[in-house]
Subunit: 333 residues, 2 copies
């Protein structure tokens, strides 16, 4: 059987990943063979959604990650049985810029505590770490290259990006030492995220689609010419599953893997929305420049060449209209 632990398991990606895994009913961890899913343990500071709580294969533990994974705690017991751990829990970019100590605690120290707990159980589980393209950034002295490739030097320009990049390094060293089998996957900005806005600086990339489709106004803090790289929720989940299921050889080493992204201008996202839903919907977007958000977003990479991901069979979304249609299909069910 296969046991899974998901940190941040009550969040949007964590809950969706859990539902996908439970629906599949089995998982092939690192190419070791497909085995029935026995238990999915969701660790989070907030309660898990009711549909997941009702599944007899789901266990949930609520609290701070460092506390949950300490000896004698439910999370630690779940880690001892885990074949694969998805570490998705994190404070988001906007929060970390506003509160430096929160980012250090929630992203750096909680990750350290989780890795130490995974080492302490002594079973060397597969650990999938959700890193982010926020590790890439441009500064005046070291501008981003036109296209980010697999070996581009990260140069994070946010605390969130720094903390994710440090997490990648820790995971690589724990893996080299044999304490666990780490796979760092750099997720794209996910759009369209369902639910309510969060404090991520990238949140508007979902908000300007999601809110107008729901008949609500939404602010766009950046210029329509701003180019960004995105992935649909389904592609992000696919990348996380790929990280968990790939054999070591296919995964290709301890450095982080950047998932493929769709490069699109904000203005073209809005044009796609108009094409799918009409001008009455796009008229609900208010163009309200926010220099802080615009500064963060303009420092992020928007064009990627993801050779390593392509070899694993990962592909970007084909276009933004397909992303909108997926979102509509998801929210109708």
């Amino acid at each position: 059987v296969t046991n899974v632990v998901i940190t941040g398991g009550a969040g949007f990606l964590g809950a969706r990943l859990a539902r996908d895994l439970l629906a599949a009913g089995s998982l092939d961890v690192a190419g070791g063979g497909d085995r029935p899913l026995s238990q999915v343990t969701l660790l989070d500071r907030v309660p898990v959604p009711p549909d997941l709580a009702a599944d007899p294969r789901v266990a949930a533990a609520e609290g701070d990650l460092a506390g949950l994974t300490a000896a004698g705690q439910a999370g630690r017991d779940a880690l001892a049985r885990a074949d694969v751990v998805f570490h998705l829990a994190a404070a988001v970019s906007g929060e970390c810029e506003a509160d430096f100590d929160l980012g250090i605690r929630a992203n750096l120290h909680a990750t350290e505590a989780l890795l130490a707990a995974c080492r302490a159980v002594g079973t060397s589980p597969v650990v999938v770490f959700s890193s982010s393209i926020a590790v890439f950034g441009g500064s005046p002295e070291h501008p981003l290259p036109a296209v980010v490739e697999d070996h581009t030097l990260p140069n994070p320009q946010t605390s969130y990006g720094i903390q994710k990049f440090i997490g990648e390094q820790l995971l690589a060293d724990y893996t080299r030492k044999g304490f666990l089998r780490g796979r760092s996957i750099r997720l794209m900005t996910v759009s369209v995220r369902p639910g309510r806005p969060n404090a991520a600086a990238s949140g508007f990339m979902s908000g300007i689609i999601r809110e107008p489709l729901a008949g609500q106004r939404a602010a766009c803090p950046v210029d329509p010419d701003t180019e960004v790289a995105l992935a649909s929720p389904a592609r992000a989940i696919e990348a996380l599953r790929c990280a968990a299921t790939s054999p070591d050889d296919a995964w290709g080493g301890r450095t982080a893997l950047t998932m493929p992204g769709l490069t699109v201008k904000i203005g073209d996202m809005v044009a796609a929305l108009e094409q799918v839903a009409g001008p009455a919907v796009t008229s609900l977007i208010d163009w309200v420049p926010d220099p802080v958000v615009a500064g963060m977003v303009s420092g992020w990479a928007a064009r990627f060449r993801s050779d390593r991901a392509a070899r694993l069979g990962l592909a970007p979304d084909p276009d933004f209209t397909s992303i909108i249609r997926k979102h509509l299909a998801d929210t109708r069910t």
Copy 2:
């Protein structure tokens, strides 16, 4: 006046840096103007050398770095007055491979504690972090390029290298936030180090010169064809001073700067020793392969193109015979 704090101030590089600064009598911190040296505070777990302890401008505090820099402690008071902090304290590569927890504590957590203390004093001091070329490494999937350049992606293959690279990231983010003015300088392997062997995997690069010159046998754990990159103690000190004194613009951003190194084969180092001191001296070298050390050393970079360092006026040692002659001159005094 200028106040200086040196962590690892009782170590070889720290003590030598302190002596150089005290002999100069003044320091121009980050291009702000040359000012008389008022106090040099040495923080270390071991006592400082007697010549430094006797200097009225020297203060010393003995203990664990995290403890020394906590509120109410001598180190914290010194940081509050410091114009520049040199962070040299570290567990070395061999120790960190043998004892993972030691490396995490001495290199990662102690660095975090120091940076937090520098932030807490609220004066945004210049902080020079001694990183290392151990951040570079080759793995089967991501071999080192033939020449390491300023923007080469580090891919550390030791815990020491991982911890140094994480320190660079933390320093960059503390700097971006304005908590301090950080400069990470990646030091070359220093040869010839005086004194006794340490637990660094690179220690033999000094030992095979120093011990035979002192009439003692020394083991060389790697093949004579092994290529390495080195710098003399004087060049390493010069690089640390350059990091402290360069104006922000000249320093060139928050990413780490790699100091220049002399590329040399181990066999050519021994040939230079024979040229300077004769065959009776080199006959004291025992060629005793050590696969663990050889594995670590072969993963390190040996050829560098250090454009950024060159723009700051830093240059490699001209050849290895000059390094040996410097060592002889240093140890005669």
